[in-house]
């Protein structure tokens, strides 16, 4: 049966008026075979590989944009966790910084806006190379523009590496001071249960169990979902869930089609579709506004957690029906600075840090892109991270923290990062928290649910 005018118009409206786009195509590249004891040789090889594949990725994404009329906003690259690649090299900060600069230059040459993977898995302990990379983060991320870092600090199977959590409080403070408005911290996310096929920055990396290449895709449809919710102001919640499911099915199918064709064109394996609804600062492209369209007065007031749980459950059901390759994070993204509705909710006092954390217990994948006063002590930052990651570990899900302690700013002020990173209101946070607890360090044991065999 030929497609009807109504069906065509629905699709065209999604891209024309409702901000539907492919938020990112992210190519994961294995760099393990580039490892060398000679730093220059290693850098030369990875730069060549990234530039070649990055250019191909851009060409393929452009062709798909033309063919299907759906914008492919970001083209990104993720690589094997760099702490692994640095193992044979001298353990100096200068080595790690040189590798970061090489990645940055390669991304620039290939016209790739962000390259992820400058990090490692340290949930159980730190190798000398992991430790070196962590120590190098403030310099590496403040001296590069496109490099993103992730660190997996905990997992349900291993527990939580509190020694690394304690260190990160200091690292983030140091990085914030070294970079303008603290923006360096927007390029690093710490995780519990990090997935190795997530296409979204800053946490994207090419996981250890991945093939040589893997093309992962992230779709963006908060605007589309918001419009269908608004068009159905009176239906009950069961029906609303069905409506959201049907809509997400459609956008996921479009995403998968484009992802598969990009992978085919590049002769690489197609990885996953990440069905997370990714907001942008553009008006109408907000997850918070979907929650509000569902009937919650303001994002953050009582009712928000239930509404968000319903929303993402429907998103997952629609997405899983649409694609057999759903993966990555596939949860709710509610980055404070990148979502106009979130910014408004914080400014009006409806949403605070405690509620933001509560939302991650049902479906959100982390406390993302929120700014706190620059004077916040390192141990308080570590304590925020520990709380958030403990939620992920105990609930067998991914959680993450991307926090920006903005130098010289106080609660109530705001900071503008520009572009997709948006504007962050500075959120209030206590000056004294759990210094004694954080300073104990060590490893919090894995929860009982890790013993599943």
């Amino acid at each position: 049966m030929r497609i009807s005018v109504e069906e065509v118009f629905e699709t065209v409206q999604m891209t024309m008026d409702q901000h539907f786009d492919v938020r990112t195509v992210t190519l994961g590249i294995n760099l393990k075979d580039c490892m060398d004891r000679n730093l220059n040789q290693f850098c030369k090889r990875i730069e060549h590989r990234i530039v070649t594949m990055g250019q191909k990725l851009n060409a393929a994404a452009d062709a798909m944009e033309q063919k299907y009329g759906v914008p492919v906003i970001n083209r990104r690259i993720s690589v094997t966790p760099v702490s692994l690649l640095l193992e044979p090299l001298p353990r100096t900060v200068a080595t790690a910084v040189k590798v970061a600069k090489t990645l940055d230059r390669a991304a620039t040459r290939a016209n790739i806006d962000f390259i992820g993977g400058f990090g490692g898995y340290v949930q159980k302990g730190l190798t000398a190379s992991d430790e070196n990379l962590m120590n190098a983060l403030p310099q590496a991320l403040s001296q590069t523009q496109r490099v993103c870092s992730f660190f997996n600090l905990g997992s349900t199977l291993a527990g939580l590496n509190m020694t690394a959590v304690e260190r990160f409080g200091h690292i983030l403070k140091d990085l914030a001071v070294k970079s303008k408005t603290g923006i360096g911290c927007a390029k690093v996310a710490v995780f519990a249960n990090v997935p190795g096929d997530n296409p979204f920055m800053a946490g994207a990396h090419h996981g250890i169990g991945e093939p040589d290449h893997s093309l992962n895709i992230g779709i963006s449809g908060p605007g589309v979902v918001k419009v269908v919710v608004e068009k159905n102001p009176d239906c009950d919640l069961t029906e609303l869930s069905e409506i959201i499911k049907r809509t997400v099915f459609k956008i996921t199918r479009a995403g998968e089609l484009i992802g598969r064709e990009v992978a085919d064109m590049m002769s690489v394996e197609f990885g996953i579709v990440d069905i997370s609804l990714a907001a942008t600062p553009a008006a109408g492209d907000s997850v918070a506004e979907i929650i509000e369209a569902m009937g919650v007065d303001r994002m953050g007031v009582p009712g928000t957690t239930a509404a968000l749980a319903l929303l993402i459950d429907a998103v997952k059901k629609g997405g899983a029906m649409a694609s057999g390759r759903v993966g990555g994070l596939s949860g709710t993204f509610i980055p404070v600075s990148e979502d106009a509705g979130m910014i408004r909710a914080v400014k009006e006092g409806a949403l605070n840090l405690e509620k933001l954390e509560a939302l991650t217990s049902v479906c959100s994948v982390g406390m993302d892109m929120f700014a706190i006063p620059g004077s916040t002590p390192p141990d308080v930052i570590s304590a925020i991270i520990a709380d958030e990651l403990a939620i992920g570990i105990a609930n067998n899900k991914t959680t993450s923290v991307r926090v920006i302690p903005v130098p010289g700013k106080r609660a109530g002020q705001s900071v503008h990062f520009g572009g997709l990173l948006g504007t962050a209101p500075i959120m209030a946070v206590t000056k004294n928290a759990s210094l004694g607890f954080i300073n104990r360090k060590g490893r919090m044991p894995a929860p009982l649910k890790a013993l599943r065999n």
């Binding site: 049966m1 030929r2 497609i3 009807s4 005018v5 109504e6 069906e7 065509v8 118009f9 629905e10 699709t11 065209v12 891209t15 024309m16 033309q66 063919k67 299907y68 009329g69 759906v70 459609k250 956008i251 199918r253 479009a254 998968e256 089609l257």
Partner: protein, 102 residues
């Protein structure tokens, strides 16, 4: 509509959909048909409707024998759209099939 091409040169159909939205006026189909014919693109179906106060016309056409690439015809159509004050998009049919057919 053009006759079917001789059998030996028949290629797999490459159906694309042109969507026109805006205000209805004289000559829309004429302009589009000329552009299609010039580039050897066969029109296979045309439909139109008024929806949510929009005039919407869809035209299915086959690019199999086209003398231009998708991006070129797409640019030509956008130019026509600008001249006639209409929104014109050009997309491969597969996107609609993926989204609207299980």
């Amino acid at each position: 509509m053009a006759k079917k091409a001789p059998k030996k040169t028949v290629k797999e159909p490459q159906i694309c959909i042109v969507t026109v939205t805006g205000k209805d006026k004289v000559g829309i189909i004429a302009r589009l048909s000329v552009a299609m014919a010039k580039n050897n693109i066969n029109i296979v179906d045309v439909n139109q409707k008024i929806m949510e106060n929009y005039f919407v016309m869809t035209m299915a056409c086959d690019m199999a024998e086209a003398t231009v690439a998708i991006n070129e015809i797409s640019e030509k159509l956008s130019r026509i759209g600008k001249e006639m004050d209409l929104q014109i998009t050009f997309q491969h049919e597969n996107i609609f099939k993926a989204m609207h057919r299980v």
